[in-house]
């Protein structure tokens, strides 16, 4: 394990050290450096402190753990690998995600999981322990977003306008979402036994990562949001 003290390094120098390391890295005193581990394909990076924006963008197989909060654009256009945040994240987490997994213990900001997409074996997963801000899952084309609502500040589990433009994949909320307005091109149904095999590993892994007990969460009720047709945003055009 290579320990890198980051408080005197700019992001370019820090990334060069991470890339040239032929082993797992522990970054200490991270002071908001951006672009950490962008495009990284192997090894594990653990971060103490607070990483800056665009952590793990285009991640391609490496695993990142942040022992605290992260900022905006975590896992932007991520292709493979894992990001674990033991705190909250900012806006635009998992933008255009196309593979891999992101587990967040706390809350996410606006625009979580926008334009997530999937194809055959590439099935991205975004699990958020707390609540999401407005515009979550906008333009979702594939993959799974799971929001557990374990936050305790009394705010609603989702902000405004979730799932606008959704044309693939699914978004799952724990508990009652009757107070939330979803677009008319989506449908919602209560989680059934048939959905459980897909949900179980996500909850089990979340609990193992962040020290929760899985049984009460597995027994809870969930609402699944999906697009209501294969082509819900087929705009009516006339050839001219």
């Amino acid at each position: 394990m290579l320990q890198i003290q980051a408080n005197t390094l700019d992001y370019r120098a820090l990334n060069e050290k991470i890339r040239s390391a032929r082993e797992d890295c522990l970054i200490t005193d991270c002071l908001g450096q951006r672009f950490i581990a962008d495009g990284l394909q192997d090894h594990t990076v653990t971060i103490e402190g607070t990483p800056g924006n665009a952590l793990g963008a285009y991640l391609d197989g490496a695993e990142i753990t942040v022992r605290g909060n992260a900022q905006d654009a975590v896992g932007d256009t991520m292709n493979d690998g894992r990001i674990i945040i033991c705190g909250n994240v900012g806006d635009a987490v998992g933008y255009a995600m196309r593979g891999g997994e992101i587990y967040i213990k706390g809350n996410a900001g606006y625009r979580a999981g926008v334009h997530m997409k999937a194809y055959e074996t590439k099935q991205p997963i975004l699990v958020i322990g707390g609540r999401v801000g407005s515009f979550a899952g906008e333009y979702q084309a594939g993959g799974t977003i799971l929001v557990l609502g374990l936050h305790t500040d009394g705010k609603p589990i989702s902000g405004f306008f979730p799932c606008t433009g959704m044309h693939g994949g699914k978004m799952i909320f724990r508990g009652d979402v009757s107070g939330i307005v979803f677009p008319q091109q989506t449908t919602s149904h209560k989680l059934t036994a048939a959905d459980m095999p897909e949900l179980r590993p996500l909850i089990t892994r979340f609990c193992a990562l962040f020290g929760y007990r899985a049984e009460p969460l597995l027994a809870d009720t969930y609402t699944v949001i999906t697009p209501d047709s294969s082509n819900p945003y087929h705009q009516l055009y006339v050839a001219n």
């Binding site: 992001y11 672009f35 394909q41 285009y58 391609d60 255009a96 194809y119 044309h167 055009y237 006339v238």
Partner: protein
């Protein structure tokens, strides 16, 4: 319904003395216009389906066919043209958004045709390109602001990554999905042979074309289709698409009908589902966010690739370009309002954006005024139709020009503007296998190479005539241009004098 009837735009005229009823027109037409009538032993046609693609005309062995504009006419009206009236009928019967292909065909001014080029005589002799070498090579990328020297006095020659072009022309972005596999193959091969670049567009890069990586620009658009580290590292440069001239400000929508097989796999969208590209990148809401995206791409590719930011030419393009130049981008690509597209709403295509000539001049001048012109190279596109347009663009400030419509024409396109139907009879703007088989990439590539080679010769002739032997000496050299029939305001924006001055 009679109220819906729009008379056919075209008439198919068949010379009965020449027609041998060989039925080649029937097999070649992809819009089912021609059919053989066994009863009469004659060819019949449904001219309502004709789109004037000229496939049948080109393939008829006896040249028996011609396509004419149908002279059935509304009453003459300078305000309500036939097009305006028919568009109302179409919308009244369908409630649909009018969808068109290729670039703005309306009669707005074409500034290229109002600009004239200098030639040397007497006091500054022209150069004979036959005798003296003409340098048409250009390098696109960030240039240093000053000479740097090493401690021992030698020149520090490390530069930001550059693209090397044998001549100031490259191919614009056209996505795999909007055009066919053989069309992409032709562009890739031609770029490799000519020593220039082609652009993947936002459909991702088919794995078969990774071998052409050194001549490929990979695009990162708002949908991020096909974007992963191998893709980013495969190309010679990465282009962030913020907008395109044909449809500034709006997103893209590839109809589900074109999302089949390899297109679906490369874009990671379920087959048959529309592929939607949102209007803004939803992670870039400010110039600071753009800078963040540019640097995230640089970090992910370890600063090996120049980053291009492509924008549509719109109002205040000069200020926008200044922001992009300060965002860390290495190259700005500006796409004028005449730029082509596989499909865009007609109204947006015809009414939004500004001409590339004016945008280019404004951007080049602003960057020079601010002392940051060296931070970016400029690529101009959005209707470059000839080597003369290239020379004028370079003189107005472009480091290189990109062509798309011209490239498609070289591959056999006849500009019928029906790409959105997915039934291109020339095998270019379609995914139907029986049609894409019509485009042989070897021939397509050869014709593209021939086009660029011809333009390169013409460019050298222009340069020699002006007394310039290196294209870089022409870049931004407004003194080589004069306007004709332009207002003072237009001359001021272009930064050129009037012919005779």
């Amino acid at each position: 319904m009679a109220i819906d009837y729009i008379f056919p735009t075209y008439e198919v005229v068949r010379d009965p003395n020449r027609c041998t009823v060989c039925r080649i027109c029937e097999t070649q037409c992809s819009h089912q216009v021609h059919r053989y009538d066994a009863g009469s032993g004659q060819m019949l046609c449904d001219e309502a389906r004709c789109v004037d693609c000229l496939r049948c005309v080109s393939f008829c062995p006896t040249h028996a066919l011609k396509i004419k504009k149908n002279d059935c006419a509304f009453r003459q009206n300078a305000n309500w043209s036939q097009k305006s009236i028919e568009e109302i009928y179409k919308q009244a019967s369908s409630s649909g958004v009018l969808l068109s292909s290729m670039g703005n065909p309306q009669a707005y001014p074409v500034y290229w045709d109002k600009i004239l080029i200098n030639a040397s005589q007497v006091t500054n002799p022209s150069i004979d390109p036959l005798r003296e070498p003409m340098e048409t090579k250009v390098f696109l990328g960030k240039k240093p602001s000053s000479i740097q020297r090493n401690p021992d006095g030698s020149l520090c020659t490390s530069l930001a990554p550059q693209l090397t072009l044998s001549m100031p022309v490259l191919f614009s972005a056209m996505s795999y999905g909007s055009i066919s596999y053989p069309a992409h193959a032709s562009l890739a091969r031609a770029a490799q042979v000519m020593g220039t670049y082609y652009n993947t567009g936002e459909g991702g890069l088919h794995e078969d074309f990774y071998g052409y990586g050194e001549n490929t620009i990979v695009q990162v658009a708002s949908g991020r289709f096909g974007v992963h580290t191998k893709y980013l590292n495969a190309g010679a440069a990465i282009e962030v698409k913020m907008g395109q001239g044909a449809k500034p400000g709006i997103g893209g929508h590839l109809p589900g009908m074109k999302i089949v097989g390899d297109v679906a796999k490369t874009r990671m969208v379920p087959e048959g589902s529309d592929a939607i590209s949102p209007a803004p990148h939803h992670d870039i809401y400010s110039i600071e966010d753009l800078r963040q995206l540019v640097f995230s791409l640089k970090e992910a590719t370890q600063y090996q690739k120049p980053i291009i930011v492509k924008v549509a030419a719109v109002h205040n393009i000069a200020a926008i370009a200044s922001g992009i130049a300060r965002s860390g981008a290495d190259i700005i690509a500006i796409d004028g309002f005449r730029g082509g597209t596989g499909a865009a709403p007609t109204r947006i295509r015809d009414n939004v954006g500004i001409p590339i000539e004016l945008a280019l001049a404004a951007v080049d001048q602003r960057l020079r005024d601010e002392g940051i012109r060296n931070r970016v190279s400029i690529i101009a596109g959005g209707s470059i139709r000839s080597s003369a347009d290239v020379i004028k663009a370079v003189a107005l400030g472009a480091d290189a020009c990109c062509i798309a419509t011209a490239a498609l024409l070289a591959m056999g396109c006849h500009l019928c503007r029906t790409c959105q139907s997915g039934s291109c009879s020339w095998g270019i703007a379609t995914q139907r296998p029986e049609l894409t088989a019509r485009l042989d990439p070897q021939i397509g590539a050869q014709r593209l190479v021939s086009l660029l080679t011809a333009w390169q010769h013409e460019i050298k002739e222009f340069m020699g005539g002006m007394g310039i032997n290196s294209i870089e000496a022409l870049c931004g050299n407004r003194a080589m241009l004069r306007g004709i029939g332009l207002t003072q305001k237009e001359l001021d924006i272009l930064g050129i004098l009037h012919a005779g001055e």
